[in-house]
């Protein structure tokens, strides 16, 4: 029943996606432009290779594409779920879901599936384009490693999305938490540059962000031909975050639903 429900959510969203052709085309154009931009930045930097890049194979373009492609996943999951919950609140869909016999975790995961699938395809395409058109250098890809890193990353980001959604549902105002987390991750998570270049006093913050481990693990799996054992510390850290964050986010969301039922804020009013 659980899987059948998830399938029903996914089917609903695929059928309902009003402009998915346009969304695909426009986001792929965006991906192309981003890739091209970094291609030229990398070209500019190519003479002056930094020490900090050498653990990743030394090529800035490959480094940054992994960062940008996977942080896209972060943005979509973090802003996606709160957006979905917010609009469900405005339309009455949230109430129509909550009077059914489906529990809250299923509703949350089900509502995120389409966004997750869409952004995964995007990420994959981003990498593909970088390799095929811009000559991105890959190592011997560690498929299992990248799959594990990917799944755990999705779990962490989903949890953060659920936390943001809880905030929005109760307070009905923009969510400073998700925004802060997203921006800080961009700066400190190693998306555009290796965290090794950060001053030590701020680097410890990077280690508090799941995205740091995701990108580290992804770069190892895709760029440097690392073995599963070498990737394991990052996988373990991500698993730790996920095991902690997912249940906490569900508890908080459940609490938020109760609070919303008290305050009458399940609907737009």
């Amino acid at each position: 029943m659980f899987l059948y429900k998830l399938y029903s959510f996914l089917k609903r969203d695929v059928l309902n996606a009003a402009s998915y052709k346009f969304a695909f085309v426009s986001s792929f154009v965006g991906i192309f432009l981003t890739s091209a931009t970094f291609y030229f930045i990398a070209k500019l930097l190519s003479g002056s290779q930094s020490e900090a890049l050498s653990p990743y194979g030394g090529d800035y373009f490959s480094f940054v594409i992994v960062g940008v492609a996977f942080s896209g996943l972060l943005g979509i999951l973090q802003e996606g779920l709160p957006g979905i919950i917010r609009s469900a609140q405005m339309t009455g869909i949230l109430e129509s879901l909550l009077v059914t016999q489906t529990n809250i975790p299923t509703i949350l995961v089900g509502s995120s599936l389409y966004t997750l699938a869409f952004s995964s395809v995007r990420t994959f395409f981003h990498l593909l384009l970088a390799v095929a058109v811009f000559g991105m250098q890959l190592g011997d890809i560690n498929w299992l490693g990248s799959l594990l890193v990917f799944l755990l990353t999705a779990l962490c980001f989903l949890s953060i999305g659920i936390l943001s959604a809880s905030f929005i549902m109760v307070y009905k105002v923009g969510n400073p938490f998700g925004w802060l987390f997203g921006s800080v991750s961009g700066l400190l998570g190693g998306v555009f540059f290796p965290i090794a270049v950060l001053p030590p006093w701020i680097k410890w913050l990077s280690y508090a962000l799941p995205i740091t481990y995701s990108l580290e693990g992804m770069r190892q799996s895709l760029l440097t031909s690392a073995t599963l054992a070498e990737i394991m510390p990052n996988i373990a850290a991500l698993a730790g975050f996920g095991i902690l964050l997912f249940p906490i986010s569900l508890v908080i969301f459940r609490w938020a639903v109760v609070k919303a039922k008290r305050d009458g804020s399940l609907t737009h009013y």
């Binding site: 609903r12 339309t91 009455g92 869909i93 129509s96 009077v99 016999q101 489906t102 109760v258 039922k261």
Partner: protein, 264 residues
Amino acid sequence: MDKNKAVITEGLVKHYPVIKGYRELLLHPVSKKQTTALAGVDLEVNKGECFCLLGPNGAGKTTLIKVFSTLVLPNEGKAFVNGLDVEKDSKKIRGSIGFAISEERSFYWRLTGRQNLEFYAALNNIPRSQRKTKVDEVLALTQLEEAVNLRYNTYSTGMRQMLAFARALLIDSQIIFVDEPTRSLDPQAALRVRRFLKEELVSKQGRTVFWATHNLDEAQQYGDRIAIIAKGKIRVIGTVDRLTDGGEISLQEVYAAAMKKGSV
């Protein structure tokens, strides 16, 4: 608990906090400003009756229905649906009531009527093997067979209302809650909805219909019993015959008096 009662409330009170923006949230994080939607509601609805809750805008009708359908938690008092406590047995209640949410945007506009219902059927634990039968059954009941494969956004307001009933009927519930179902309908569509509720659901199938309305004629003609609610309190309750003293006074007069003087 009386087994013949579909709904019972005892001293039900609901306050809503007054909505805060960022500014207020920061300045007065624990402000106690609130509006009272239900101010001590005592009510009993019998099984198998067409019960009309009549009252002006803002009287608390929607709030009361949402308490029954577990979407709003009361502050004080008790509410039971089919003998189940709305606070303690909310999960069981959701499996045994139908709340026809007629908010148009609560359906997926690009999906057909059938696709919409199939989605909600899955969420209501109807196994895949029975899904088609069940959906066909509620579509036939609501006379939407011809429109099943059309997208929801092509439906008329009347059809949308019928689809909301169809969604509520996916659960084999004894009691159906409807909230101003004829509000934005033309006279013909409204008649169809009223007849459906009264003749099909109540008379033929023996279900309980809990029907919130602000339309006096509707309540008078279709309600087996009527409760008049204003400012979160039930002012009078009874059959039309009793309320109007067997036709001595008009329901309009009863309503006007109830609005004016408070509890009777």
